[in-house]
């Protein structure tokens, strides 16, 4: 059930635009995470432009799929996606991490001081899966068909609360829930096997009572078809271990944990944008240095 090539190409272009947006947002904010968000552009594009049942005009639509970002620091890619999908003005991306803005450094819901599409705050790692499980149980109690998605970082799996939630989900046979692990093998201090070995990761999830699927999280077609597969599984919750590259799309950031938490400086942003070809969607801002160089003599 891989989507057709046109769809994939269309989504890829959007993912590239989101990557461009990320570089610009982070250059403006001078603070925030580059690596994880770049790595997840394909996953977010797939979710928000293809998989999730949502309506940007009615973020609280009762029939919506619920999406929880447990690893809140990844929010720049969420904001860019929400903007591109119409939840918030594209122009607002300029306000990332700025005072009096809504694009908090870690996401907050609209009914506090955050943005529509965010159901609850995150940032302190490890809490999202429990929330997703609670939400999924609540929906099931009401016999609602909505699905719940929860995205976690791999480093985040060091938090014991994730495993508490994993047990709870399996115990209650929560099968309207799909967990996604951003398996980029990187966290802040180093690669995950240096900071805290997670392998054998599929076995961990399986022994905690989950269906386990693996896929390339930077391959939109594969990711989408894996989610389709997950939707068909019953009786247990399902986790998709989505292998991504931190910093995907920007050569000097790729697979490098040192880009976990830093924004590019101007030079780096230029380099990054030169590697991410412009798209039909257009950027949300044009910097001075992007303006076409005025050719000599044309000046009137």
């Amino acid at each position: 059930m891989k989507p057709d090539l046109d769809t994939i190409l269309e989504l890829s272009e959007m993912a590239r635009q989101i990557r461009r947006d990320l570089m610009k947002m982070l250059l403006i904010s001078k603070s925030g995470h580059s690596g994880g968000p770049l790595g997840l552009a394909d996953v977010f594009t797939s979710l928000y432009f293809h998989i999730l049942k949502i309506d940007p005009k009615r973020p609280a639509m009762p029939e919506r799929d619920y999406f929880f970002l447990s690893a809140g620091h990844l929010c720049p890619v969420w904001y860019a996606t929400l903007a591109r999908r119409g939840y918030i003005p594209i122009d607002e991306l300029k306000t990332l991490r700025k005072i009096n803005g809504r694009l908090q450094g870690h996401p907050a819901p609209a009914y506090t001081h955050g943005v529509p599409g965010v159901e609850i705050a995150s940032g302190a790692l490890g809490q999202g899966l429990s929330i997703a499980v609670g939400c999924a149980i609540g929906l099931r109690l009401d016999k609602k068909p909505n699905r719940v998605f929860c995205l976690m970082g791999d480093g985040e799996l060091d938090e014991g609360q994730i495993w508490e939630a994993a047990m709870t989900a399996a115990h209650h046979r929560v099968d309207n829930l799909i967990g996604i692990v951003d398996r980029n093998y990187c966290q802040i201090d180093n690669r995950t096997d240096k900071v805290m070995e997670l392998e054998p990761l599929p076995e961990k999830w399986a022994s905690f009572g989950w269906h386990v699927l693996e896929c390339d999280g930077n391959d939109i077609g594969q990711f989408i078809s894996t989610v389709e597969q997950a939707k068909a599984l019953r009786a247990k919750p399902t986790v998709i271990i989505a292998k991504t590259f931190m910093g995907k799309g920007v050569s000097f950031m790729e697979d490098n944990y040192k880009w976990h938490g830093n924004p590019p400086n101007e030079e780096q942003a230029k380099q990054a944008l030169s590697e991410l070809a412009p798209t039909k969607y257009g950027d949300f801002v044009e910097f001075e240095w992007e303006k076409a160089p005025v050719e000599a003599g044309v000046r009137s």
Binding site: Q127, S130, I131, V133, C135, G138, A165, T168
Partner: protein, 318 residues
């Protein structure tokens, strides 16, 4: 004042458990998250009546608080209940982020609070929970003085659309309020009028204060008694009025001295009307195993301690 005698002994936690069943019958969205202490906190009653709406998360308090928050996101009315320390300390960051900061109206209901939980000893004696929960923005913090007030509080949470922490107790204790005693969050109850000094108490210390007033009144000391059932938002007006009219304040609580009811009152008075105060509270020490009543005495939060504190503050009063 004739009302303030003990009609019977009944546990506050039972008031919680029973009211939960009533609310469960009235509103199908009420759900309860349990953490393997169901019989103790009396959510067993709800679990028996509504097994599908009782969600066991095992011994996992972090998961408990966030599961409750998730249930609220899905439109449910979740009560999360365990012992005091495990409802507030163990999942502090979860309560902070997923409930308080997110403004998700989870009702955190903790039993076995205070030193009176007794023989289980210090690890189970939640003496810091008022401090930790009141420091969180958006949280309401309340503690009932008897079984009946507990019932009223639990019912009131249903329409209180804020994160809330309610702190109650294990032991069977005197029931001395009645159906007509008001319980409005944030509005202190003056149980006894008086002019010389005000005792501001909460939880089980309200009863101790009633006993203290009885004794002091024999010496002609006119004690005002305020039941400060809601510690956050605290009733500033009642505090300032008491300070103005009686000129001396004693606070009484089953909690650490720092950051609890006494601390909250001291903060209000310091910026409005500095007034001599004495604190009846656990004096910056962990508890130990023992009987509830004997621990109250040993750790200085019983009737006699209130009497002593009143006499002391009166000597300091100008």
């Amino acid at each position: 004042m004739t009302k303030l005698h003990s009609r019977e002994l009944k546990a506050t936690r039972l008031g919680f458990g029973e009211m939960l069943v009533e609310l469960g019958k009235e509103n199908p969205d009420v759900v309860v998250v349990g953490g393997d202490v169901t019989g103790s906190v009396r959510t067993d009653l709800f679990a028996k009546e509504f097994p599908d709406r009782f969600i066991s998360v095992g011994v996992a308090e972090q998961d408990m608080m966030c599961t409750a928050a998730g249930l609220a996101v899905a439109g449910k009315i979740p009560f999360a209940s365990t012992y005091g320390e495990f409802a507030t300390g163990r999942p502090f960051d979860q309560v902070r982020q997923s409930i308080a900061y997110s403004r998700v109206p989870v009702k955190i209901c903790a039993s076995h609070c205070g030193i009176t939980v007794g023989p289980d000893g210090a690890t189970h004696q939640s003496l810091e929970d008022i401090a930790t929960m009141t420091t969180l923005p958006h949280m309401t913090v309340a503690t009932p003085c008897d079984y009946l007030e507990t019932r009223k509080m639990i019912r009131a949470t249903l329409t209180w659309n804020h994160p809330i922490y309610i702190r109650f107790f294990r032991d069977n204790t005197p029931v001395f309020t009645d159906e007509s005693t008001p319980m409005i969050f944030g509005k202190a109850n003056t149980l006894i009028q008086g002019n010389d000094v005000t005792v501001i108490a909460c939880g089980l210390q309200v009863w101790e204060a009633i006993l203290a007033e009885e004794e002091l009144s024999k010496d002609g000391i006119s004690v005002r008694l305020v039941n400060m059932h809601t510690i956050k938002p605290i009733d500033r007006d009642a505090i300032v009025k008491a300070a103005k009219e009686t000129g001396a304040i004693v606070t009484a609580e089953d909690h650490q001295r720092h950051g609890g009811l006494g601390g909250a009152v001291a903060e209000v008075l310091a910026e409005t009307l500095p007034t001599p105060m004495e604190f009846v509270a656990v004096n910056d020490t962990f508890g130990e195993s023992g009987g509830g009543a004997e621990l109250m005495k040993k750790y200085g939060i019983a009737k006699d301690d209130i009497v002593r504190a009143v006499r002391k503050v009166l000597r300091r009063k100008k």
